[in-house]
């Protein structure tokens, strides 16, 4: 079987096909992260400051997204949109579900970043005459950002990897495109290794960057 590593029928064409798949993976990731982050920041701020009767229901709803397999969420969303008659492509459904999924995690990251700012620091800001809004924009957001960014990077990479599940509802992304080629040329180990390598190359450098940032900032505090 190893001989296939050397005399393969895998062509440049196939590599191109997989790279297109990787492009879809990145596009999905991009939209999901954009939507997930916007929603996550909004929800996160609400969860950090709102009274419990807003906070608790919101937390419970978001918790649902973290307690059900993404695969099932995708299937459900895909069939639900048909039932209610929305005409979205599987790609759109994938983006929306991933964005909601990401927002559920992002909310908690934002919230804990927010709560990581010591009350005493905020009190100091207020006692200098800064208004509540200035306190938020000048003190809380910047500090929370440093706390949250490393986890946010981790989350983004997680979502990038989770896009693999979107093939189930019919989107040909990186993993699915490699399966297509496996079907044709029957060299699963070789083709899958290439897919794995592409995932790794998309994820590892950013993961390293995140780790570096985290360390740098921790030293600064």
């Amino acid at each position: 079987m190893f001989s296939s590593l050397f005399e393969t029928t895998f062509s440049l064409n196939d590599l191109w096909f997989m790279l297109k798949g990787a492009g879809v993976t990145l596009a999905l990731t991009g939209w999901a992260v954009l939507g997930g982050t916007l929603l996550g920041v909004a929800f996160g701020v609400v969860r950090a400051v709102a009274p419990w009767w807003v906070n608790a229901p919101l937390g419970a709803v978001l918790d649902v997204f973290r307690s059900i397999p993404l695969l099932i969420q995708l299937v459900l969303a895909n069939s639900f949109k048909t039932i209610v008659g929305i005409h979205w492509s599987p790609f759109t459904v994938g983006c929306v579900v991933l964005a909601l999924y990401m927002s559920a995690y992002c909310t908690e990251i934002v919230r804990s970043g927010f709560l990581a700012v010591p009350a005493t620091t905020r009190r100091a800001a207020r006692s200098l005459g800064l208004s509540y809004r200035q306190d938020l924009t000048e003190i809380v957001f910047p500090i929370a950002l440093r706390v949250a960014l490393p986890s946010w990077i981790g989350l983004t990479l997680g979502v990038m990897k989770d896009t693999a599940m979107v093939w189930w509802i019919g989107v040909v992304e990186l993993l699915r495109s490699s399966q297509v080629i496996v079907t044709r040329i029957q060299e699963p180990l070789f083709v899958l290794s290439i897919a794995g390598l592409i995932y790794f190359l998309m994820s590892f450098p950013i993961a390293r960057l995140g780790a570096r940032l985290e360390k740098r900032w921790r030293e600064n505090d």
């Binding site: 079987m1 649902v64 973290r66 307690s67 059900i68 397999p69 993404l70 695969l71 099932i72 969420q73 299937v75 459900l76 069939s79 639900f80 048909t82 039932i83 209610v84 008659g85 990479l157 990897k161 989770d162 896009t163 693999a164 599940m165 993993l175 496996v182 060299e187 699963p188 180990l189 899958l192 290794s193 897919a195 794995g196 995932y199 790794f200 994820s203 590892f204 993961a207």
Partner: protein, 220 residues
Amino acid sequence: MNYTFHWLPAFRALPEMLAGALVTLEIAVLSMLLGVFFAVLLAVASSSSYRSLRALAATWVELARNTPSLFQIYMAYFGLGSLGIHLDSFVALLAGITFNNAGYLAETFRGGLRAVPQTQVRAARSLGMGQVQAFRLIVLPQMFRIVFYPLTNQMVWAILMTSLGVIVGLNNDLTGVTQELNVRSFRTFEYFALAAVIYYLLAKLVTISARLMAWRLFRY
């Protein structure tokens, strides 16, 4: 909306699905036990003085963390399969999730170890405890508390990941059963909605029992 829900057949399938949930739970628990075992080995290996051991541990951890778990499971089945290593679907899924768990938990454990202050070891050693005693009696219990929460999170993750077994032909776990029911009748929404509820309850079961356990275990 011109869709008529057929809930009755879904509810009739409930016993079958609950049996699937049991398999799901079984895989998740096994993968956690094995995952913790390998994670400890990895954490030890990554601080070992042998370069090859450190490299092996680093490779495992980075691969587990930087490729999709779906990919890992597919690899465990068809990737290993093409090397002539035939894992049963159940075993392949278990292997894939264990691989993933171990990679994440190894990092958790390393962080947990670092989080126990060195002064604790110093205090223990100055009472005459040996290195192993200090680790077992002082460091380990404190580390356990630190990693407990990440550990339960990983357990929930493991449950959610079992849903991917269906791509390697596993058809007796919750998702497998649900998909079998689905492809026979194509009442997709009804069956999967029911599955979602069961997964949710499983996840809650884990978090709530973890909370109770933490409350019992960590009185300090």
